[in-house]
């Protein structure tokens, strides 16, 4: 791992942390309780595009652990929800990215991640509260994940286009 790569991954972790904390301040929950923009996923999506699966996973895990410590939610239900949703969403995103690269754009990749982020969260919430009525809640979250997923994908594309040419491995 080159120094350049370490520095850029660290910058992306920092970016994800700031977005994670800013997102906690946005009162989006009045539309659907528990709904979030998922802004922090910009960082691991960019990490996935720039450096591949491992780097994106590092950014995701570091962001969730540090972000929950900074926000004071470490080892609470919030933390488990964002960890499970984040990991499942990231796995689906990398699957879309590596296997259906020629079919889906980055918007499709981000959309798959956003939808499965919610699926992972709801499954974990079901395991914690063990009440299957919570699955009725899933379609509303998925519908809301649609605009946010497309938005995150667009942001990732715009950011990628602004990066210096030396960083880009692939064209998107």
């Amino acid at each position: 791992m080159s120094t350049r790569k370490i520095v850029i991954i660290a910058l992306l972790v920092g970016l994800g942390l700031v977005l994670h904390l800013v997102e906690n301040m946005l009162p989006l929950s009045f539309i659907i309780p528990g709904a979030k923009l998922g802004l922090a996923n910009i960082a691991n999506l960019l990490g996935l595009i720039l450096f591949g699966f491992i780097a994106g996973l590092q950014i995701l895990l570091l962001r969730i652990f540090l972000g929950s410590i900074l926000a004071g939610t470490f080892m609470t239900i919030n933390f488990y929800l964002s960890l499970s949703g984040g990991i499942l969403g990231y796995l689906i995103m990398s699957m879309f990215f590596y296997y259906f690269r020629n079919k889906f754009s980055i918007i499709g990749v981000s959309l798959g991640g956003a939808v499965f982020h919610n699926v992972g969260q709801i499954v974990t919430a079901y395991l914690i509260i063990s009440n299957d009525a919570i699955f009725y809640y899933l379609p509303y979250l998925i519908l809301l994940a649609l605009p946010t997923g497309v938005g995150i994908g667009l942001v990732a594309i715009f950011t990628y286009n602004y990066l210096p040419r030396g960083l880009k491995r692939i064209d998107i």
């Binding site: 259906f100 079919k103 499709g108 959309l111 939808v115 009725y136 899933l138 379609p139 998925i142 667009l154």
Partner: protein, 139 residues
């Protein structure tokens, strides 16, 4: 808007439509299934736990009869007589040696929440409903 569609591939649009359709089906599903199933079935059960930690489960639908249903439970002090009739249950007679007879004074219960508990005779009776009109019950 046309700037967004410039970035979308055909498969992206298919994915968006599939997601919308699936979530709309999932939203509609509980309403449709509630419409087709008749909610006449009784989902309430009486639970009776005796001193040997054995739990008896009686469906409420069995209590709608002419004669009240009498259940006798043996405890360390004697026999407690439980009566269930028309969707209600009570502890009819506590054993003579029971000093306070709180369980007898509790009277009839018909909803999940209150429970009849006889500490000296180690008998407890409570009601559980699968679709209750209460959100949650805490003791």
């Amino acid at each position: 808007m046309e700037k967004i569609t410039r970035y979308l591939t055909v498969y992206d649009k298919i994915l968006i439509i599939v997601i919308i359709v699936i979530s709309l089906i999932m939203i509609a599903y509980p309403f449709i299934s509630a419409y087709f199933s008749n909610n006449e079935e009784q989902n309430s059960f009486i639970y009776i736990k005796d001193s040997s930690k054995e739990v008896k489960r009686i469906p409420f639908s069995e209590t709608y009869q002419e004669e009240p249903m009498i259940i006798k439970v043996e405890g360390p002090l004697g026999t407690s007589i439980i009566e269930a009739h028309n969707g209600r249950v009570r502890l009819k007679e506590a054993p003579e040696e029971d000093p306070a007879k709180i369980c007898e004074k509790t009277g009839w219960i018909s909803k999940p929440g209150p429970s009849i508990i006889c500490v000296p005779n180690k008998v407890s009776i409570w009601i559980e409903q699968t679709n209750s009109d209460l959100d949650a019950v805490s003791w």
